[in-house]
Symmetry: C2
């Protein structure tokens, strides 16, 4: 465990204790072969954050309360003012020069801006700095960014329903997975630096291959958005057809609320995830349709023993995902 | 509002204040035309409860703490012992004679036993008593029970993940809908008595036609079970195919947990609801498939503007169901 404010130097390759999550994921998720070889420890310089929304703002708060200096670049001056008032960073500016001197820069941008970064940002990233991102899809990020020396693709899996400069909260990453997707060409020292960052904010570090990450999040994160949205629309359309539009609304309770929660989430984010992870999402939808077809066939065929077996299997499986 | 322990006598037909839910559901959910004409107020006698699981046990606790005597019939003597230890009722027995003297009897049984009640129970229901049920599907209940004088079909929509004699908790019905589905032949006094019961435990009373109830709960309660179960199976199957079975489990977070919660619930209950509400559930699945097809078509066709419009619509609709 890393002491607050004094991130431990990464140990020699293979000697790092495996975090719980990585240990649980033996077989396809592996711990990083952390190494400080060739790394300039990021804690020697300030951390740069590009974007102070939910993820960037929360990261700023967590780093600052551990005594680490944070310098942040934001797009609009109104955002800069609110970020300063909320003390999300030690320095906040709309001028990319604010990133000067940072040893580690976190690109906490929406996927579309991350995949099409402004030239001014590219020019302002300090030479030699470790650069990482927080995007929820990793293969397109690597296609765009892998050519940059010391880039590490990563994905802290934490969130709330909020977005924007008011959304950042302390402790957001505590015990949440922080996934990195290193490749053969990834700088081991840069990877170790990003792991230090994740450790510092209390996240559970794990690494895996980018394609496996993208297929996994399609199944457990992006697919539920479409299911929930379709459920909301079905309740609306089915209620209207039955002349019971008000009744379905009056009777909907926690089961409906939970099942539809992410389906009623941020439409821009849902669309970006679908756009950037389209093939994996379509594959996930294919798996889902096959399962739903089987359940529907049981109901159509009055096969109540078969349905109970299927639901018992789902009940037994679900705790493996919690 | 009814005072605890002293349920108000129902007013003349049409004079009862409309509860919030009923008011919100104008158009297809209507307030009961409560009337005391011909009713023998149930509060003059003990309340009988058949079955002391989550609903029956919670009801017993709430009535007793309001000073109302509860006499309960259970199936097994071990259950009777635990029910007595938990003080779920004033008298608990496996002999149906325990229901003698009750002016109102609540059949808090699983749907299958409610639809195929033991002869001993039928013989023991006191002549003249108001009888109601708590089943989550109403048309089959009415088909089986409507011939009984003073029967009222009702459905208190409250629950937790627990079941059995240990599951009952105080306050379960507070602010939750309690739906009755009266017909032309329903005794107005009996209906008023059941409304008194719902008021006494703090539930929000509403009435509607049984078919509208069943189609509504298919959409907002039974359909989510199948969606959640299919999601769990899809994550398992898709993870295995991608060689990422452990990874999907490690990365699944609150979005997956919420979307799959009811899908991983009690398989017996899920099967009973599907069996007893099969046609409405198949109709709900039809609506759902059409909505999911539309979303999938947008993703397949790279129609990101269309997808964002659809997700924006779902986001705007969802609060109407909360």
């Amino acid at each position: 465990m890393t002491s607050p404010g004094i991130p431990a130097a990464p140990g020699p390759a293979g000697a790092s204790p495996a975090p719980t999550v990585a240990a649980a994921a033996t077989g396809d998720a592996t711990t990083a072969a952390a190494s400080s070889d060739g790394s300039q420890p990021w804690r020697l310089g300030p951390v740069g954050i590009v974007g102070l929304g939910l993820i960037g703002g929360s990261l700023g708060l967590d780093l600052r309360r551990r005594g680490i200096r944070v310098q942040a670049l934001v797009h609009r001056s109104a955002t800069a003012e609110r970020a300063r008032a909320r003390q999300l960073a030690d320095a906040v500016d709309t001028d990319a020069a604010v990133l000067q001197g940072c040893g580690l820069v976190v690109l906490a941008l929406p996927l579309d801006r991350l995949l099409d970064p402004p030239a001014e940002l590219l020019a302002a990233l300090p030479a030699g700095a470790v650069v990482t991102d927080v995007g929820s899809v990793k293969e397109p990020v690597l296609r765009r960014w892998r050519a940059r020396e010391r880039f590490v693709a990563s994905h802290p899996m934490a969130g709330t329903a909020e977005a924007g400069v008011e959304a950042g909260i302390p402790g957001l990453f505590q015990e949440r997975p922080w996934v990195a997707t290193p490749e053969a060409g990834t700088d081991p020292g840069a990877l170790a630096a990003v792991r230090q960052l994740a450790d510092t904010v209390g996240a559970r570090w794990l690494t895996c291959e980018a394609g496996a990450h993208d297929r996994s999040v399609a199944l457990i994160s992006h697919l539920p958005v479409l299911l929930g949205a379709a459920l909301i629309e079905a309740a609306d359309a089915g209620g209207a057809e039955a002349g019971a539009g008000a009744l379905v609304r009056a009777l909907a309770s926690s089961g409906f609320a939970d099942t539809s929660r992410v389906g009623g989430g941020n439409p821009e984010l849902g669309t970006l995830m679908a756009r950037c992870n389209r093939e994996a999402l379509l594959a996930a939808l294919g798996h889902y349709r096959r399962e739903l077809d089987q359940l529907e066939t049981l109901v159509e065929g009055h096969d109540w023993e078969g349905l109970q077996r299927a639901l018992s299997r789902s009940q037994a499986l679900r705790p493996e995902f919690l």
